[in-house]
Symmetry: C2
Subunit: 414 residues, 2 copies
């Protein structure tokens, strides 16, 4: 079985060499061909998906999971629209990142190139198959995909159609390689294909991340938790602060850039917190002692509440004596995703942005803005909370690496 995965890896690696020689125009044509073929053969995708859905329902899978799995014509059209949108983005490949001349006359440049083979392991969302395939192809990478067993029929149908479309415009079908073996052993073997995989990106929950940490030997980028804070400074505009917390908590509570905790400077706690509580109708508040004096309906926050990504209409609130205390709290409990300060004090803003260690620090803006689309990347493959290679929202640029090109006239080293 691990031989079978290695064979797929070799096919992916071979295709990556062909892709490296293609033009942006060819790859864009393949994306558009893929979009067209997905729409014209939507019935095939929906038939396969129906079989996945029936199996899931019969297997007693939770309704929310079945909902993420289920496709309809609109969802297939959205997948096609996603491919067309990616085709319209600028190609990151070929950008000259920097260049200089050495005293001995060597001309050195650093050029953006595809990673090669990007592996993505993901859970029950069949749309990830086409989204990931699109982003990888645009950036000149082979998409080496391993979805879950629950969506395998859908994934096989979608991948088959895209591979056929690539062939129609003379790109290798193996620009998309799908692992059809959905066993746990195949997943582990997949994470260990160092000869073929240049970068592995998991799209899934904590158990998938744990498995990567335990088993992967290929390089990977992890899309981690977001325990995001808003610190309301002594010099905050309190109306603005209230609007930002309400937006950060309630606009879409289930996502990683939602606000999970609010830290309020003690000088403004009494004027801010009762108003905030009133504005957060339907949100369960838990707080420290001082918060509960000001907002009697708030529950008592436990140590777990400070550390947790609720992903729900629940908010932890703490009154802090200083900016330093807020920064300390964030250093202790934050997950390095997105952290915001609300203030009109320039020195406070500068200290917060300098001292808080996170992928994104925001001043007077909602934590909800930290994603690839809101940053203007046009597409997003995830949000990295690690510091190597990619930090924060990952777009096409994060699916590339660099190559040094050195030109001389026969220089030798003395």
């Amino acid at each position: 079985m691990s031989t079978a995965i290695a064979d797929l890896g070799r096919r992916a690696r071979a295709a990556s060499r062909t892709l490296a020689r293609t033009s942006t125009a060819q790859r864009d044509a393949a994306l558009l061909a893929g979009a067209d073929l997905l729409v014209s053969r939507a019935d095939e995708v929906l038939d396969a998906n129906e079989r996945d859905v029936v199996a899931a329902v019969e297997g007693g899978v939770a309704a929310t999971v079945v909902d993420r799995l289920r496709l309809d014509v609109g969802r297939v059209e959205a997948m096609a629209a996603g491919l067309r949108q990616v085709a319209a983005l600028p190609d990151p490949v070929g950008e000259v990142l920097d260049g200089w001349v050495r005293p001995n006359g060597l001309r050195i440049s650093r050029v953006r190139v595809p990673l090669g083979v990007v592996a993505i392991i993901y859970e029950n969302r069949p749309n990830v198959t086409s989204d990931a395939a699109g982003l990888c192809l645009k950036s000149g990478n082979v998409a080496f995909l391993r979805g879950s067993s629950g969506a395998i029929r859908s994934n096989v149908a979608i991948a088959g159609i895209l591979r056929e479309a690539y062939g129609k415009v003379d790109l290798p079908a193996d620009a998309l390689v799908l692992v059809e073996d959905t066993s746990r052993e195949a997943a582990v073997a997949f994470m260990q294909q160092r000869d073929s995989i240049d970068c592995l990106i998991p799209r899934g929950g904590p158990s998938l991340i744990r498995s990567i940490l335990d088993n992967a030997t290929v390089p990977y980028v992890i899309d981690g938790d977001g325990n995001c804070h808003v610190y309301v400074d002594a010099a905050a505009d309190l109306d603005m602060a209230r609007a930002l917390v309400v937006n950060g908590k309630t606009q879409r509570p289930s996502v990683c850039n939602a606000t999970e905790s609010v830290l309020v400077h003690e000088d403004v706690a009494a004027s801010f917190l009762p108003d905030l509580a009133a504005a957060l109708e339907g949100v369960a508040l838990v707080g420290d002692e001082r918060t509960r004096e000001l907002v009697p309906e708030a529950g008592a926050a436990t140590e777990d509440d400070w550390a947790q990504e609720f992903l729900d209409l629940r908010l932890a609130v703490r009154v802090v004596p200083s900016l330093d205390a807020a920064v300390d709290h964030i250093a202790r409990y934050g997950s390095g995703h997105s952290e915001a300060i609300v203030t009109t004090d320039l020195l406070a803003a500068d200290r917060f942005t300098a001292e808080v260690d996170a992928a994104a620090v925001l001043v007077n803006a909602s934590t909800r803005f930290v994603d690839g689309e809101e940053f203007g990347f046009g597409a997003e493959i995830g949000i990295s909370t690690q510091k190597l290679h990619a930090r924060g929202p990952m777009g096409l640029r994060e699916l590339t690496t660099a190559k040094y090109v050195v030109r001389g006239e026969g220089q030798t080293r003395g």
Copy 2:
């Protein structure tokens, strides 16, 4: 024991927060103080080193290993000079990498910041202790170091002196944390301190790399093998080609950017190879059949010879029918380090640089130029053959990450 390592990690993490608030001037002062104290207390270092050397000799350690371990006054002074040289380099921290304004008025910038805690695990070279400490401190990172048991007395002495020097200029001594437990268990625990280590860089041989792949759960950058090729094109200047191969093979055969294989276009093989063989006196040649016809003293190359990093006065030679065949050979056997073409044909040069997948591709220059010093980085922590985060020579810039800073006036997401 793993608790003890975790405690050291917590100290490193705490110090990294203090370092993040220091100025370039403060960190440079600490580097200069460290250099001065190393020189004035060289006796302590040499005493400790003598005990390591005696233990190594008594333990029957190979003479070449003992030689790498042994320090003298000159080597201690060279360590101090290295710290002064790093102090004189530009500080990468704070560079604004890019920035833009979104339609909603949000101002986004991406700023270079320290990684935080950089872990380095290394073998018997005590100079790595001060070299790594210097590069980490300059780039605002805590150096979390784990050397080998054979150099532990030297490492403890060097680290102690540097820590004392940092304290003299009001930096935290924990800007350098040395793991004194040199057991295998401690090494494995070290590789798994995800709460404290932002990046692990191994400096050592294949068994260390294997242990990282098997055990590490922290993010790492691997400094891999260099099986570097020179392709002599049909349109090469053959005198230049000969000089480049001689330089690449013989100037310092034991390093990763030395040339290990030469691929010669069949049109020039007869005029080139006999001359090359004559110029490579003292180098053992192994080749394919055609090479052995032209150079009768060459041995027969095995499959292993094509794949191996000799690190010795040994060179593999193959006659190839085309540029494509050269590119295919490199794709099959290369390690993605440094690959060169010698040619006067612009189209051949462009195809080679585009199609060969390596950290560095060179045109008409010796593979020996691919290192941090020759690239002008002023210092080098290693040469990455992986594609994530850092590819090719790693200088101070590769010891940093980026942070998004988002500034608004109360924007909420709709």
